[in-house]
């Protein structure tokens, strides 16, 4: 029990003293998660809208596939991305292995089905009266789409928050694709895994606290936006 208490005290010391290895991991985490979130929202939002809004052949199959992708293990994504960007892989020449870009690609793959599936469900659950109301107020297709998205903005925010939570806390992709290189590709989660394996619980707990704080700040900002 003592080591946990000591861990908390050490955590506060590390954060307050501005420990460079801790803060580079924090920055790396923020960089890759923000980048992967922007990419997955950019791709997932329109895809989710199309799947949720329109009826088309094989829609059910697409939904099933999407739901399956929700359960993709991060180590599998890490493995797949590794295979593609390693020197022997088709994208090997791009030199993405053991870079933050490589991690961001993997995390985008992780977040994309989450954003898409939640957006599709949100759009599917739009009140049927909304579309009828918009049609009968004279809205054209462009206005209907824009207004529908605005009406379900909280649902889409929820999709973003859920996906952000997932990429922020994943270890598999960051470890396999990033390689956990100190001051370069080490993220908060890979650092926690490493420090814990070395028996340095205090450092691990410190980084854990940082992770929780990031998640808290993101959610606080979103709930502020929601109130607006």
């Amino acid at each position: 029990m003592d080591f946990i208490v000591a861990g908390f005290i050490k955590a506060i010391e590390l954060l307050v003293s501005g420990d460079s290895s801790t803060w580079t991991a924090v920055l790396a985490t923020l960089q890759v998660s923000t980048c992967s979130m922007l990419l997955s929202i950019g791709a997932g939002l329109p895809c989710g809208f199309v799947i949720g809004y329109f009826d088309f052949k094989y829609k059910k199959h697409v939904r099933t596939l999407l739901d399956t992708l929700l359960a993709l293990p991060t180590v599998f994504i890490g493995l797949a991305v590794y295979a593609f960007i390693s020197h022997q892989g088709p994208l090997g020449e791009m030199g993405l292995l053991f870079t933050l870009t490589g991690i961001a690609i993997g995390q985008t793959i992780l977040a994309f089905p989450i954003v898409t599936a939640i957006t599709a469900s949100t759009i599917e659950n739009i009140d049927q009266d909304l579309k009828l109301t918009l049609v009968t107020l004279g809205a054209g297709k462009r206005h209907i789409i824009a207004t529908c998205l605005w009406e379900v903005r909280y649902g889409i925010l929820a999709a973003a928050v859920t996906a952000y939570g997932r990429v922020l806390t994943e270890v598999g992709i960051s470890m396999m694709v990033g390689g956990n290189i100190k001051y370069q590709t080490r993220t908060v989660t890979t650092a926690i895994a490493l420090e814990t394996s070395k028996g340095l619980f205090a450092d691990g707990i410190a980084l854990g606290i940082v992770l929780i704080m990031i998640a808290f700040i993101v959610n606080l900002s979103l709930s502020f936006l929601r109130r607006q």
Binding site: D129, L132, T136, L137, G138, H143, T147
Partner: protein, 342 residues
Amino acid sequence: MTKINLTYHLKNIRHYYGNTKVLDIEDLKIEKGSITGLIGPNGSGKTTLLKLLAFAGRPTAGNILYNGRQEFPFSPTIRSKVTLLTQKPYLLKRTVFENIVYGLKIRKDKEYLETRVKKALSTVGLDYQDFAPRKWHELSGGEAQRVAMAARLILKPEVLLLDEPIASVDAKSAKLIREASLKARDTWGTTLVIASHDLQWLYSISDRQLSLFKGNIFSTGIENIITGPFEKINGESLVKTLGDGQAITLKGPAPKVCTAVIKKDSISIDLKKQAGDSGLNQLSGLLASMLLEKKSGHIMATVSIHDLSFVLRLTPDKISRLNLYPGKKVILRFHSNEVEWI
């Protein structure tokens, strides 16, 4: 040739949901600047008809001519002229002001918005200062209904379609919605089609009433629908026995057909039963209500006979001669031949 003073001309409209036919209208004309009331039980096709009139959907078969021209559903031109207020109006998750100007903004009409919103809100009896900044969830059901009405009125539509506009509002709101509808017609020549279960309110506002039942339209207004089961006797008569022991005998066709329509003009009223004619139905009931039919000056009387309600049209003379008043015991009379089967 469709005359130009018609707003709508519906020809051979059939509409299906899956395999179920929900509308079957051979010919229906709605004049410009008129107020048409739609009456009918739930599931009779009123909302479907209103959606088709709003061009929010396309009939499975048939044509809808608008101002003598066939319009393509969902076309921007038609959408700017016709608007529908649904039974449960959807307010956008914005302020009242933003809800009301939404239709104008998408028409890129952004002049004097504040003045116009003030006017639209005052038409439906809401104060601008109090209501314009409110959010959608800060309104009661009646207020939301009136805000939705204001959002339609501000568009000065050629056609205003109202689906159960007073279903969930108080008497004051119902009165304001009535006044706003009449004002739209009188000021801009708006054509209104209104579906409502509140006959008294509907008769007080509409020029004519159409009755719908199972997708069939009766241009003579509300009619008496008697649903089965019927018992077949003597090969050609069908009998429906009411809970109080009285029986309605009707000349029947094929046994599969189980809904009878007895036109209100085929029914007469008296205070005593008449001897003779065995083909005559004479049913004892209570006069439940009386409504003035604005256009004809006749009175629409409703007579309750056990769990059925019969509507018939009476002249003011007849009412004073028989000294009729709600609650009075009366005899309804109609011949067993005077029936249509649908």
